[in-house]
Amino acid sequence: MTTITPMLPEEQEAATTARPARRVRGGRWRLLVRTPGRIFGFAIIILFALMGIVGPYLYPKNLPIDPNAIYAPPSAAHLLGTDFEGTDVLALVVTGARYMLLSALIAGLLTVVLGTAAGVTGGYYRGVRDSVLMRITDFILTIPGFPLLIVLSTVWDFGSPYAMGLALGIFGWGGIARAVRSQTLSLRERGFLEAARGLGLPGRHILTHEILPNVAPYIAMNLLLTITGAIYAEAGLFFLGVVPFNANNWGVMLNIAVFSAGAVTSPRALTYLLSPLICILLLTLGIVLILNAVDEWFNPRLREI
């Protein structure tokens, strides 16, 4: 161990002229409430999250039917009216949220985790690992997702949100893997990664501590976008009726509203049609509104206010 003499004070760049450190740590949550738009977006997401978590517990497992009030208009008893068998639409929306949200979340997480893992690993190590991973990625990319799901639905029971999320996630990570890989490749040439390698830091450390934080904003943004994408995909599948619906969810509601209740031609079932539709739009809006907070969340330069 070498002995060390501190340098002369004149060598030190005076900290007097330096800007004081503004909120170096913490304060990230504040980003979400920095603008009215973000507050609104964040509130929407919290609301739907709550709906997904506690919604099903607010109503009996089998929702009561009311043969006297089929396709009833909104009233004090049924705020959003009723459906073809007189079930409260609000209850349907609330209890149907869990399936949609849970499966979309699973799909999003799976997509992002698989895509990032493949992209970062391939981009950083290159060589054989890269070739193998990218061939798999290309294979995934060439699979036409939506038609495949239709085919899959004939053999697979999509009554469980987990199955649905898994199916959407497993076939959706190709694009992210490609994009993350190219970002990693460009990061690889940056001085700090060369330094990390030169210092002998292990590869896993470099991946998780040096590269990942730098691609994190991109990944997080993709997570949010994939979630909205998954919601659309599900709603589409159920709406087209290609997936046997043995579960209560927004897509099923849309399907029934249009094909059974004739919501397109008659105003009777209008709230029945609009309720799930507005939910999907609201959720998308909420996600879009907080999207620009993601960059600031991960980038210390933008975070400093």
Partner: protein
């Protein structure tokens, strides 16, 4: 101690429509970096000096010759052994803005390699903390100020000091500084150069200083050797001040004559030779590499290849068929 013997590196040319010939970045370079010593490499951009530095740090492969670190030849070693040997050489990058991870605080940037080091040495958290403070003190930074900050909150000079502190976490024997001050404010450059000089004296680390700026090379490595590289070949070497004050090779003379003269303080040298044309890497001259641009070329330079040889009775070596001292260096006025 590091010895390089006949290091060569050829970058393969691109095939296909954009066919370009391969580029010989290094053509058999020999040098020695003694313990506690300083060695400077100067040359214009594309001369191979950066490639050389990267090879030393293990960031680039070499395809010929041998690199010997502390008596151990590098090329025969297994990958892991080789990596740990090359860890004794640390790079100080040119650009302190990209050399630090923008998403991590200085505390983490220094802490990670130190944690690795602590594990190897069986030390604990306390040691890491102590060492981190020591290193920042050593490079002239206030730990309390710097540690919680992100790189973008620091000036270029401070960042470069952090980069140096990070390199020192693994107790290197050699620091390779490639244009280490070119992106730093002028009034802060000398501080970094002096730091490198002090580190040599205080820690005994050797410094390999790579630059096109002769004055900074002189400041850091005055008592060491200066190598002048042209197209991957050492064309002159010797004690730094001797080569700078009394250059023999026409290329060195052109380089030194190109240094701007501060009128009022200095007078230009009596001769200010300028190379002819510009560097064309596609042409491989049969004789002296510098002949196509040499202002003093003679007929036989086109056919004979000079090799590095001693200048009568001095430590200076040069690769020129017609060496001649010329008054090209600026002198103090009045």
């Amino acid at each position: 101690m590091i010895e390089a013997r006949g290091i060569t590196r050829t970058f393969p040319g691109r095939g296909g429509l954009l066919h370009r010939g391969s580029v010989r970045a290094l053509r058999g370079v020999d040098f020695t970096i003694p313990d506690h010593g300083a060695v400077s490499f100067i040359g214009e951009s594309g001369c191979g000096k950066t490639t050389l530095g990267r090879i030393l740090c293990g960031l680039e492969e070499f395809d010929g010759g041998e690199l010997i670190i502390d008596g151990q030849p590098v090329s025969g070693l297994r990958r892991s052994q080789r990596a740990s040997l090359l860890r004794r050489v640390q790079m100080i990058h040119q650009d302190p803005y990209s050399a630090l991870n923008p998403t991590r605080t200085i505390e983490n940037t220094l802490g990670d390699p130190l944690a690795l080091r602590a594990r190897q040495r069986g030390e604990n958290e306390d040691w890491i903390r102590r060492r981190r403070t020591e290193l920042l003190d050593l490079v002239g930074l206030d730990p309390g100020y710097v540690l919680p900050r992100y790189p973008h909150m620091l000036s270029g000079g401070m960042r470069q000091r952090v980069v140096i502190a990070r390199a020192l976490t693994v107790d290197p024997e050699v620091l390779v500084a490639d244009e280490a001050v070119s992106m730093i404010d002028v009034s802060l450059r000398l501080g970094i150069l002096r730091l490198l000089r002090d580190l040599r004296e205080q820690l005994g680390v050797s410094v390999l200083f790579i630059t096109h700026d002769v004055a900074t090379a002189r400041y850091v490595g005055r008592d060491g050797e200066l190598y002048v590289i042209y197209r991957g070949q050492v064309i002159e070497r010797g004690p730094a001040d001797t080569v700078i004050q009394h250059p023999v090779h026409p290329y060195t003379q052109c380089l030194l004559a190109a240094i701007p003269v501060l009128r009022g303080i200095e007078q230009p040298g009596a001769e200010r030779p300028v190379p002819r044309g510009s560097l064309d890497e596609r042409v491989e001259p049969p004789g002296c590499l510098f002949e196509p641009r040499c202002p003093f070329a003679e007929p036989d330079c086109r056919s004979r290849q000079p090799s590095l040889g001693q200048l009568g009775g001095t430590e200076q070596e040069h690769a020129c068929l017609h060496p001649k001292r010329r008054p090209v260096v600026a002198v103090p006025a009045g």
